[in-house]
Structures are given as C-alpha cells and as structure tokens.
Symmetry: C2
Subunit: 101 residues, 2 copies
C-alpha cells in the first residue's frame, strides 16, 4: 500500500443552482488537510487529495478515507485537525461526522 | 463500506509540456470503466471516478483500486475490461499493469 491512509475529498462543481461539494469549499478542505498533515510530518505516509463526485452529494462537503472506506459528511475546515489527529493518526473515526454507509 | 471496490482514476492536467494523466486520456478511462461496470450491472456496487493527482505521474495514466490500495500504471482504455473482470469482479489483480508501491 503506497499510503497508510488515502483521503479523497470531493471538489466536484455542479452547475448552479445545484448544491455541490466543490462550491461548498471542497478545495479549501484539501488545502487544510495538506497543511495539517505537513504539520505532523505525515505528508509522505498519508495523502489527502482532490476527487470527483463521491456519490454523497446530499451530505457535502464529503470525503472518504481509505483503506477503511469511512465516509464523512458536512465537513468544515475547522473539523480537519480533529479528523487528522483522531482518525488518521490514532485510528479513531470522528463519529459525529461519519456517514453511515 | 459504501462500495465493494472504489477506483480512482487520475485525470489531473498539468501545464504543457509536462506529461500528465489527464492529457494521456484519463477521462476516457473513467468513461470506459463506467461503461464496463454498467455492462456487468455493477454500477451500484463498484464505483470508478475521477481523481486529482495520485502521486504516480511517471507511470500515468494511473489509477488506484481501494480498499486494497492496488496501483496500476500506463493503463489504456483497451485494458479496462481485463481490470474489471479479473480484479474488480474476481479479485485477481492484473500483474502486468500493477505498480509495485
């Protein structure tokens, strides 16, 4: 496995007036994840990156963490530090943001 | 796990003259995967979708299959049916295209 954890963040932009993760700050989330991982020196072990539609539009901004396949919804930049520390580093998913897929 | 398998295909486009997966037919790969999955009636169980840079630019067009985290490189549309049947349906990775990460 190239990465210990691999985070895919939806940055899909649909045409207005449809709501979509991209217009709901997906790219800001990607940048915040990258900064947080670098802060912990984890940028080579854990990757956070852009992705197209994750099929969870109703819950956006959404993301998925692999290899476990945990989906999160309504994620805000202020939630990123908690996801990184709790889930990505300590393997404790953040229950309040988890989607029950 | 929302999907039995989740395939992320790099469609990143760098500025010319740099080579990148997107300009090397990443989007064509996404469409070919979707068609192949639909042909097998698997479009709800297995998802193939666009992603940003997977950090395997030198081997593009590249993609990764989760939850196992198998990377493939130099994938052409003519390889997609084999990846779907061998790996996604029968759990036998296509060794000749696998990247040893």
């Amino acid at each position: 496995m190239k990465f210990k954890k691999h985070v895919f963040i939806c940055t899909n932009q649909k045409d207005a007036p449809k709501k979509s993760c991209g217009t709901e700050r997906g790219l800001e989330l990607v940048e915040t994840f990258k900064q947080e991982l670098t802060k912990h020196g984890l940028q080579k072990d854990i990757r956070a990156q852009r992705a197209g539609c994750l099929d969870a539009c109703a819950f956006g901004p959404s993301l998925v963490v692999y290899p476990e396949g945990t989906y999160y919804g309504n994620v805000q930049p202020s939630d990123v530090a908690e996801i990184v520390e709790s889930h990505l580093i300590n393997d404790q998913p953040v229950e309040r943001l988890k989607l029950n897929f």
